[in-house]
């Protein structure tokens, strides 16, 4: 008798449980290409929009770096404008770029294809999700142009300063920002419900949860986190909106501004911080978990090995997701909350390090003695590992109250979170785009340009953020327009700032190479074929590349094995697609299985 392991191939496939549903076939041009309900098209719409605002956020970061490196050389960067740039940069990067591209972009494209479904379960709501997201982005961009400009409260939007006179954008700017966030959440919810239900309820025959590629596990858990965390942000946005417009005092204590008492009394600014971080910390994992998932698959495919400890990886994702709801106040050690809270939250924070470290070990063990192909996606995956470990280690510093207190609000924090949740997930976004672009367009991205893109981005990011730790330890504060004439800051800090700025500008410019590569390869790239990376998962086994509306041929694929059958001893090829039947079963004629080896 065999003992049960996850990757056992099965010959016994249960019968179809639900009749297939008819897809919506639009007849008009607008119905087909604009109000399109095909998840793959929605994914592309999400990705392009997110990359568009992402470029805006990148430009803003370049402008900030110019000010920090060469203070007083640019007259249009006023202290107020600097704060506005910090805020917009942070908010766009975290919410409108990373969340949207991982869940709306990768989620929409990969979930139906990887679980073997024809589309998301409710394509109409899925379509609305994108259009509401677009409206949220437009509102956000509009806030740049209203009188007073966009808000300069920092991406954390802390009251009271977010809505009192004197903060840039305290009038219309913050109102538009809050409205935009509320729209984003509504739009996301429509998509997010689809992602969860599709994974749980619309898998193809033979696709058990423990056969899902880790990409799907990461996206699923991140979506669940988002569905439970965004409500807190929604509620705090509503309350702050009322404080700003109707003069309620949810978050506003009695306060005097420029010598004048305002009409507020009795509200609690710390309440906002609790609500915000109840959203804010899971948000970190909303961008990290999909990255964890995708990187696992990139590493397994390119090391030609099964992922090490698949089950452990799944459980680690679930445990990290659960724990991420009980650590939020580690962002509030200096907020004046009860110090006993600090003890509790420091403990839970350090516990999260265990499943996270476990994942890192498993990635490294997957690489170990693998038959590694240094493709561009693989380079980015390894880049992720390095930056993520680096940022994770500084996280251990900041998780401890006594170490965090002096480092709080310094450049050390900026260095830490850029390493762990900015550079690392962005590396995976790039890796994922290089990996799946051939499926989306049918053409390969140029690998030479890709390697230039990778090395400059990787080395460049390191030269930006590594020195920043030292600045932080010296006490250079974050969100500061200028650190000139502060006596305790040595001359070397200024030199370092120049170096960081130069690196940042180079990294910024090299992203144009990537954009050029995306556009050029669409027309001139090498034809990719159905499965250029020789991967096992279902999206590479479709009859057409790019897959058509409905994803698969007349019959849905049947899954016989897990997603990581690479280099199986005795097999003809060094990979066995998930839908390839065991040797004892003849291949079905209807299988979309272009590379099935002759058996």
């Amino acid at each position: 008798m065999m003992s049960y392991v996850a990757h056992d191939e099965t010959e016994l496939i249960p019968p179809l449980e639900v009749e297939e549903e008819e897809l919506y076939h639009p007849k008009t041009f607008i119905g087909k290409y604009i109000w399109c309900q095909d998840a793959k098209v929605i994914a592309i719409q999400y990705t392009i929009t997110a990359m568009g605002v992402g470029l805006l956020a990148l430009v803003l970061s370049g402008i900030m770096r110019l000010q920090l490196g060469f203070p007083n050389s640019f007259s249009f960067i006023t202290p107020g404008a600097y704060l506005q740039f910090v805020t917009m940069h942070g908010m766009i990067m975290v919410v409108y770029l990373l969340t949207a591209i991982f869940l709306g972009g990768f989620g929409n494209y990969l979930i139906p294809l990887m679980v073997g479904a024809r589309d998301m379960v409710f394509p109409y709501a899925n379509m609305l999700s994108y259009w509401i997201y677009l409206a949220a982005v437009l509102l956000l961009v509009a806030s740049l142009f209203v009188p007073g400009g966009s808000t300069g409260a920092g991406w954390t939007l802390y009251p009271p300063q977010a809505i009192v006179e004197g903060t840039p954008g305290a009038g219309l700017g913050i109102i538009l920002m809050l409205l935009s966030l509320m729209l984003f959440i509504i739009g996301f919810t429509m998509g997010g419900l689809n992602y969860v239900v599709t994974v749980l309820q619309a898998r193809t025959r033979g696709m058990t949860l423990m056969r899902l590629p880790l990409t799907i596990w990461g996206i699923l858990m991140a979506t669940i986190l988002a569905l439970l965390a965004f409500p807190a942000l929604f509620v705090s946005a509503v309350m702050m909106l009322l404080d700003a417009t109707l003069g309620t005092s949810f978050f506003m204590p009695a306060i005097s501004v420029a010598g004048e008492m305002l009409d507020y009394q009795g509200g609690s600014p710390v309440l906002f911080q609790h609500l915000f971080w109840f959203f804010g910390h899971p948000e970190v994992y909303i961008v990290a978990l999909p990255a964890f998932g995708i990187v696992s698959d990139l590493i397994a495919v390119n090391a030609r090995k099964n992922i090490f400890g698949y089950r452990m990886m799944v459980w680690a994702i679930l445990i990290i997701g659960g724990l991420s709801f009980v650590v939020w106040a580690h962002h509030m050690y200096v907020s004046g909350m009860n110090p006993y809270f600090g003890f509790f939250f420091a403990t839970t924070t350090l516990i999260i390090a265990i499943p996270t470290a476990l994942k890192v070990y498993n990635w490294v063990l997957t690489l170990w003695r693998g038959n590694i192909r240094f493709t561009v996606p693989m380079l980015f995956a390894i880049g992720f590992l390095v930056t993520f470990v680096n940022g994770g280690l500084t996280g251990l510093f900041l998780g401890n109250v006594p170490v965090d207190v002096p480092l709080s609000d310094t450049m050390f924090v900026v260095a830490h979170f850029h390493m762990v949740m900015a550079v690392a997930p962005i590396m995976v976004v790039f890796g994922g785009l290089y990996h799946w672009y051939p499926k989306v367009t049918g053409r390969m991205l140029d690998p030479t340009l890709g390697k230039i893109h990778f090395w400059v981005t990787f080395i460049g990011s390191y030269s930006i953020y590594f020195p920043m730790h030292y600045l932080g330890i010296l006490g250079v504060p974050r969100r500061y327009y200028s650190i000139e004439n502060i006596s305790f800051i040595p001359e070397s800090a200024h030199t370092l700032n120049v170096q960081i700025t130069i690196a940042a500008l180079i990294v910024g410019v090299v992203q144009l190479v990537f954009v050029y590569n995306l556009i050029r390869s669409y027309f001139k790239g090498e034809p990719a074929g159905p499965n250029p990376w020789e991967a096992t998962t279902l999206e590479w086994q479709t009859a057409d590349t790019p897959p058509r509306h409905g994803n698969f041929g007349p019959e849905l694929p049947i899954v016989y094995r897990w997603a990581y059958d690479y280099s199986v001893p005795g097999a003809v090829l060094d990979y066995i697609p998930q839908n390839q039947p065991p040797d004892s079963l003849p291949a079905r004629e209807t299988d979309d299985n272009p590379q099935a080896p002759p058996s």
Partner: protein, 239 residues
């Protein structure tokens, strides 16, 4: 096979748990016999619970941390009927109306699955009517508070300013839920009476067949809105 053996071993001990494990380790669906629409509504309601939960926790926080006394609910919400001051009478009627609408909703689901077109339609419309009555009474209550008692979101004559702020925000948010529910109840009722669900006619911009199951999905939402009201009622009127 080994895994089925594990399953049967477990079921000897704890049948409920064993079937859950079996369902979750199976293919295609984690919740057997739960349709996509129902699963989606359930998950949405969990998310919505977090919204109302955050609202209520915020309310409790400001109420406990304010230094100004909180207005006495039995006086603020009292209504003078027939020359007598009756505490909480309006709210008692509103609660009765909303809970009754849950009853008609449950009946509608039942008659829907029996494909009783006309009865289902009538019950759905009755539910919508009760819901609309509830919203109407809420409007009356708001008007009374604003006009007669001078309660405003930013302050009131009786005590802590956060009283009006939290009250209007949370009951307003709940009222919006009820109103949206009423609109969708009417839409579902129209589909029922037109016979779209009997003929399995696809709805707006979808290829999917119309089914009586949407009555139940609608019911889930409606019962949820009712349940939330019970909490709001307890926290605002009885605390």
């Amino acid at each position: 096979m080994a895994d089925t053996m594990v399953g049967s071993n477990l079921s000897a001990v704890r049948p409920g748990l064993a079937t859950v494990v079996e369902d979750w380790s199976s293919d295609q669906r984690a919740f057997k016999n739960v349709t996509w629409g129902k699963a989606m509504m359930w998950i949405f309601l969990v998310s919505d619970t977090f919204i109302f939960g955050s609202f209520l926790i915020a309310y409790m926080t400001v109420r406990m941390s304010t230094t100004v006394p909180w207005p006495n609910p039995s006086e603020v919400f009292a209504l003078t009927l027939f020359g007598k001051e009756l505490p909480l009478i309006l709210i008692a009627i509103m609660t009765f109306v909303l809970i009754s609408s849950s009853g008609t909703m449950a009946l509608a689901v039942n008659y829907g699955y029996r494909k009783k077109r006309i009865t289902t339609f009538l019950l759905l419309m009755m539910t919508a009517l009760l819901g609309a009555t509830f919203v109407g009474m809420q409007a009356f209550e708001w008007t009374k508070l604003i006009v007669e008692e001078g309660v405003r979101p930013w302050g009131n004559p009786m005590g802590a300013a956060q009283f009006g702020a939290t009250f209007f925000m949370i009951t307003g948010f709940h009222g919006t839920h009820v109103s949206i529910g009423v609109i969708f109840l009417v839409i579902v009722a129209i589909k029922v009476i037109r016979g779209d669900l009997d003929s399995e006619k696809p709805g707006f911009m979808t290829g999917r067949k119309g089914r009586y199951e949407i009555v139940e999905t609608m019911g889930l939402y409606w019962h949820f809105v009712d349940l939330v009201w019970v909490f709001i009622f307890a926290f605002f009127y009885l605390w």
